[in-house]
């Protein structure tokens, strides 16, 4: 089963990190990805640009409305995700606890929906 681990953290903390601390954080993420990958439990992942680079799109009554900024102004924003390959939700939760962001932010684990009848891109 595939699960998505959505990583929420306070962007303002990250932005104030000196370079050395950022490199250390990236090294921790690489170590997590290497370990999970070697165990066959990692199927993907990406880091998102900060919310100040976000654009939000809505369509109302046929009209496309575009606004600068994220969908919601929140203290802890979605900053990235991993796609985990695990046998159960419990296993996915255990693995997600090893994601470095869980130490200061929050990691939300959600099963990825699979509908065999559905056309996937």
């Amino acid at each position: 089963m595939k699960f998505m681990a959505l990583i929420y953290a306070d962007e303002s903390v990250w932005e104030t990190f000196p370079d050395a601390e950022r490199q250390a954080a990236y090294a921790q993420y690489r170590a997590f990805a290497d370990e999970a990958g070697a165990a066959g439990m990692l199927a993907g992942g990406d880091e998102l640009a900060p919310t100040r680079d976000a654009t939000t799109v809505r369509v109302r009554e046929g009209e496309t409305l575009v606004t600068d900024g994220p969908y919601a102004e929140v203290k802890e924003a979605l900053g990235g995700f991993f796609v985990l390959e695990c046998g159960s939700l419990d296993e996915a939760v255990q693995l997600a606890a090893k994601i470095p962001g869980a130490e200061h932010g929050s990691v939300e684990v959600r099963p990825i929906y699979v509908d065999p009848a559905e056309v996937q891109p």
């Binding site: 998102l48 496309t64 919601a72 939700l89 939760v93 939300e108 959600r110």
Partner: protein, 118 residues
């Protein structure tokens, strides 16, 4: 530039529907989704997408002082939560906006476009 198109929507009405009604709604929206998938694949043959299960399946994990804290439910306490994401490589933001507006749920929810970090 690679973008994440994050699909935010209110799934509370959806999760309570009986399976037959869900299937009927899916069937009704399916032509729009198929034409979206075609447009996305045309723009980037390597496009990928994930649909997430509803909020009742969500767990939040935090580690504080070495202790694991697991809570039920999604992280955001808002009505609209992330329901899925497309990852797509596009020439510019305008193209991302054009494709985001083609996502059927943009008509009642919101699509947040975020560039991916290299």
């Amino acid at each position: 530039m690679k973008y994440a198109l994050l699909i935010h929507g209110d799934d509370s009405a959806w999760v309570d529907l009986p399976d037959e009604e869900k299937a009927a709604l899916r069937a009704e929206e399916m032509p729009q989704w198929i034409s979206l998938f075609e447009e996305l694949s045309k723009a980037d043959p390597g496009v990928s997408g994930y649909e997430l299960d509803g909020r009742s399946t969500a767990r939040v994990v935090q580690v504080r002082d070495g202790e694991r804290i697991v809570t039920d439910g999604p992280f955001a306490e808002t009505k609209e939560i992330v329901g899925g994401v497309f990852l797509v490589d596009l020439p510019d933001l305008d193209e991302a906006i054009r494709l985001a507006a083609l996502i059927p749920t943009a008509k009642h929810g919101s699509i947040e476009i975020r560039p991916l970090q290299e």
